[in-house]
């Protein structure tokens, strides 16, 4: 008797169906608070999914716990609403066992960076081919308004009536440090940009990490309003595009340049000369790290793809070792049971 061949071969449907947004809507009533930023992320996702040309049954959404993690119930694919912080582990197991599937991880700032910080780190370090979308509302929504690891220093919340005494961390910086091969940021309100980021994340081979600034209008309303509202966006956000100089402003009139390792705003920069040119494909993360340090109000907030590089994925490498071993001869149970020294009793 020999080792099994993968029995799921027949299960994956090969025909590429033409799907629409509606195909990805479930019969479940969406239960987020009216006005919650999660609605927009769901809508952009449902709009984006048909563009991937992947059959519904081959897509899986895996989430942890939190308002954001309710997401899988609303997407008509396979879905797994797991436990707090552990979605990356389940996704890693699934994707490693079944590399042919397209796997999304939906997480929150508490889910992904507090209780599940370790798993998030390691999923990114390993470059598992997952699409991780972190809904950052800088608050614990589901548990009704405690501060999170991304809440600003001194923030007054239910669990910090005198203001927090801890410093926040920056999710993009964590992703870069962990070696994530695709790192992007977008905002719930900026629907077109968000859809594009989701699409590019899904298309990237390797781990994709997308931080989405998401408004929790109940417990942390307006957290990103100062720069993300439509009227001020052009002035207060800078859209990163590979190979292009960093420009922002209503008419793209301002720019960013480097003074040593320090970014500077160049108001009314007439020529592109001297402006910082974005390189998302750089192996070295120094530039991306400088960009991630820019924050409102000193700087426009960078959104877009910070990093997009190629590297072998964990799931492929594991599969490759298995394939190579099998190519040398499929394991036989009779033989392995008889390995080592044996003797016969008559």
């Amino acid at each position: 008797m020999t080792a099994p061949t993968v029995p799921n071969d027949g299960l994956i449907s090969a025909d590429l169906p033409v799907l629409t947004r509606k195909d990805f809507v479930t019969d479940q009533e969406v239960r987020w608070c009216p006005g919650c930023g999660d609605y927009s992320i769901l809508a952009q996702m449902q709009k984006m999914l048909p563009e991937l040309g992947i059959a519904r049954e081959n897509i899986v959404f895996i989430s942890g716990i939190g308002c954001s993690s309710r997401f899988p119930y609303y997407v008509n694919t396979y879905g797994f609403h797991s436990i707090h912080g552990r979605a990356p582990t389940i996704a890693t197991g699934l994707k490693t066992a079944r590399p042919e599937l397209t796997v999304f991880v939906i997480t929150g700032d508490g889910d992904g960076l507090s209780i599940g910080g370790n798993h998030l780190l390691h999923a990114m370090r390993r470059n598992v081919d997952l699409n991780i979308i972190l809904f950052n509302n800088r608050i614990y929504g589901l548990t009704k308004g405690q501060y999170s690891p991304t809440s600003e220093f001194g923030k007054i919340t239910k669990s910090s009536p005198y203001g927090t005494t801890e410093r926040p961390l920056n999710p993009i910086r964590i992703a870069l440090a962990a070696g994530a091969t695709f790192v992007a940021r977008s905002v719930d309100r900026d629907t077109k940009h968000l859809e594009e980021m989701l699409y590019r994340a899904a298309k990237h081979r390797g781990v994709s990490f997308v931080e989405v600034y998401q408004n929790c209008n109940i417990f942390n309303d307006g957290a990103f309003a100062a720069f993300a509202e439509k009227e001020v966006r052009a002035e207060r956000m800078v859209y990163l595009e590979h190979g292009k100089p960093l420009r922002f402003g209503k008419n793209n009139e301002h720019g960013i340049r480097l003074n040593g390792f320090t970014p500077e705003v160049v108001e009314n920069a007439e020529s592109d000369e001297g402006l910082l040119v974005h390189d998302a494909h750089a192996e070295n993360i120094t530039l991306a790290n400088i960009l991630v340090g820019m924050d409102y109000p000193e700087f426009p907030v960078p959104v877009g793809v910070f990093r997009d590089v190629d590297a072998p994925t964990f799931d492929q490498l594991v599969q490759q070792q298995v394939d190579e071993a099998i190519a040398k001869g499929r394991g036989s149970l009779e033989e392995v049971l008889r390995s080592g020294e044996t003797w016969v009793v008559e």
């Binding site: 099994p4 061949t5 299960l11 049954e57 396979y78 890693t92 392995v336 049971l337 008889r338």
Partner: protein, 636 residues
């Protein structure tokens, strides 16, 4: 295979039924290797045998120190045996520390072979000896054979281009050669092994073989030993045999489960003593399509196993007690999502970090109840090292057929212990039934249960038309949607419990060894099988009405357990914990079971259980465990 040495006529030969030897030395002295080599020779010769390695807790404790002592005990016999023996007949002590920590176990009058060269002031001091025990008369109760092993070994290796340290390292082969001679064994098996092992180091090979032969010839030529011993081969069922440890058998059992089911195996684990060997074994076997994942922690390991099971593969995770504690929340997710994962717990001693290298069976209640909510999992427990193979297959057979997580409770004693194993024919192995959900029209309900087993359908990503959402939130049994309906939660909880209870129809009845009814039933589970079975056999030989039974299925219990319990006037439950099975048995069957509990990190001795049996039957006063000195000192 019975090519024995021609026994020289100068030495008389005494035939023995069973011998127990303990090799003890510094952890750098290669005692595990010495023991393993002797074991292989005895196994190939056809003896029945059992082994018990005893590792020091520290990887590199100071040389010659008490915590640095490493031991390996083997019992081999011409009859069937179940344990590595209570007390060794022979102790080989390579230094004073080894003597100090092990002497208490040696049988009175036992043979004590020591390397007398090591009994010099520095080593004696490290072992906290004020006077040299070889000279102060304290060993009068034993047959002491002091041998100049270090020096003799040096002489044998004279002229070889090796450092003094490398030469010193060959002392264990000298000792091995001597013991092989003493029991009339050939050097063949060891020579074959060493030749393969040191293929690339001919110098080391040469040195080891010289030391081995020198030890052997020493026995042959000196007058120190007047007798050579013979332990004839055991009568065992015909077949092809190999030697196997519990952890090896566990790994191979799960490989077999994969082959038998035709489903690829995924193993997620985080290194932990004494379970890591399973990860090492499985990670070698990629040509079986096995994927192993060394996770960032135990939570990730079980999460990944759940992910693999969700994907339609065999999701397996393995750990020891502290890791099981970390896995409990995720295990509950598997309970709630009703996914067929298997969790191995190779139990070790104590709460928290406890005594990692020592054995205990104290996680039964953790496996049974250690989760929030009313949460039921199936539990199986192998009872011998080779039984790990069968129970591993059983674990997945149950998990897949009943769509339920299964905990596999092994322990350090089983995992590291070893025995000869008749390699089963593949056709003897159980079938593993499973199926993915059938395709269907309309909305798919992932909780539509099989009317007989109550298993839910296994719909895996990639199956068209069965897209569905599961998770840890309670679901409606009717639709599979989230539900907070009171009646639904009541019914789903009962259904999850009933699903586990119904496994009872799918497992064998409890077997009783000994009288069908009588004065006493000794009931056990897990690694205590050998000691309990032997103790009860001895008791029956003494004319007592004592039966034994061993539970390999702990949740659910076999159907006939209640019946069996009623047929004896008394029930004794020996456990290496404070009475966990006893609590379950008392609660479930209202039987006044008597507990016998040992929590020393060491397995039961046969004599201990016999002592307790006698007490329970009124044949003696209260039996109190007499801990050997070594348990106190070498515990680490």
């Amino acid at each position: 295979m019975t090519t024995e040495t021609q026994l020289k006529s100068e030495h008389s030969v005494e035939e023995l039924e069973r011998v127990t030897i303990r090799f003890a030395g510094d952890s750098g002295d290669g005692m595990q290797l010495t023991g393993t080599q002797f074991t292989r020779t005895a196994a190939v010769f056809g003896n029945d045998l059992a082994t018990l390695p005893d590792f020091p807790a520290e990887i590199r404790a100071p040389a010659g120190s008490l915590p640095g002592v490493s031991g390996f005990q083997i019992s081999f016999a011409s009859t069937e045996i179940y344990t590595p023996g209570d007390r060794p007949d022979v102790l080989v002590a390579m230094n004073p520390a080894a003597l100090k920590t092990n002497l208490g176990d040696l049988k009175p009058g036992g043979l004590l072979i020591v390397d007398k060269d090591e009994f010099e002031p520095t080593n004696l001091k490290k072992a906290a000896y004020d006077t040299n025990p070889l000279e102060d008369g304290s060993l009068a109760g034993y047959q002491v054979v002091p041998i100049s092993i270090t020096r003799q070994n040096e002489l044998a290796l004279e002229g070889l281009p090796l450092s003094a340290k490398d030469k010193f390292r060959c002392r264990n082969f000298y000792a091995l050669g001597l013991i092989l001679w003493l029991y009339g064994r050939t050097l063949d098996t060891t020579i074959k092994w060493a030749t393969e092992q040191f293929k690339r180091r001919p110098d080391i090979l040469e040195a080891n073989l010289r030391a081995l032969r020198a030890g052997y010839n020493f026995g042959e030529t000196t007058e120190l030993f007047r007798v050579q011993y013979r332990v004839p081969p055991a009568k065992v069922p015909p077949g092809t045999y190999r030697h196997i440890s519990g952890n090896e058998a566990t790994a191979l059992g799960f490989v077999a489960a994969s082959v038998l089911s035709g489903l690829p195996l995924f193993y997620g684990s985080y290194p932990i003593t004494p379970a890591s060997d399973i990860l090492h074994e499985l990670s070698k076997l990629k040509n079986f399509g096995i994927k192993t994942f060394q996770a960032e922690d135990e939570i990730a390991a079980i999460g990944a196993a759940i992910g693999a099971a969700y994907g339609g593969h065999l999701g397996l995770t393995g750990t020891s007690g502290p890791g099981l504690a970390l896995k409990s929340e995720a295990l509950n997710l598997a309970v709630m999502t009703e996914l067929p994962i298997v969790v191995i717990d190779v139990q070790r001693a104590g709460p928290s970090t406890g005594m990692p290298t020592k054995t205990e069976q104290a996680d039964l209640l953790q496996a049974m109840f250690g989760r929030n909510g009313d949460s039921y999992v199936a539990i199986v427990a192998p009872c011998t090292p080779s039984d790990c193979f069968i129970m591993a297959i059983e674990a997945f057979r149950i998990a897949l057929k009943h769509m339920v997580p299964v905990v596999f409770l092994s322990d350090g004693y089983l995992g590291n212990g070893s025995e000869p194993w008749r390699i089963p024919d593949i056709s003897e192995l159980p079938r593993i039934e499973w199926k993915y959900a059938d395709p269907q029209e309309g909305k798919f309900n992932p909780y539509l249960r099989d009317p007989k087993t109550l298993a839910r359908p296994w719909a895996v990503p990639g199956q068209k038309g069965l897209e569905h959402r599961i998770g840890g939130l309670e679901k409606s049994g009717e639709t599979g949607d989230i539900s907070y309906d009171p009646r639904n939660h009541h019914e789903m909880t009962l259904a999850r419990k009933a699903k586990v209870d119904r496994i009872v129809d799918d497992i064998p009845p409890l077997e009783v060894i000994g009288p069908e009814e009588g004065d006493l039933l000794v009931l056990g589970w897990g690694g205590t099988y050998g000691s309990i079975t032997s103790a009860c056999e001895n008791a029956r030989k003494r004319g007592l009405s004592v039966a034994s039974a061993h539970l390999r299925y702990l949740n659910p219990f076999p159907a006939n357990l209640g019946d069996v319990l009623k047929r004896y006037r008394k029930v004794l439950i020996p456990e290496l914990n404070t009475g966990q099975l006893a609590l379950l048995i008392r609660g479930r069957f209202l039987v006044d079971a008597i507990g016998f509990n040992k929590i020393s990190g060491q397995p039961f001795k046969i004599a201990e259980i016999e002592g307790k049996i006698d007490e329970v039957l009124g044949l003696r006063d209260e039996y109190v465990l007499e801990f050997t000195r070594s348990a106190g000192v070498s515990g680490g």
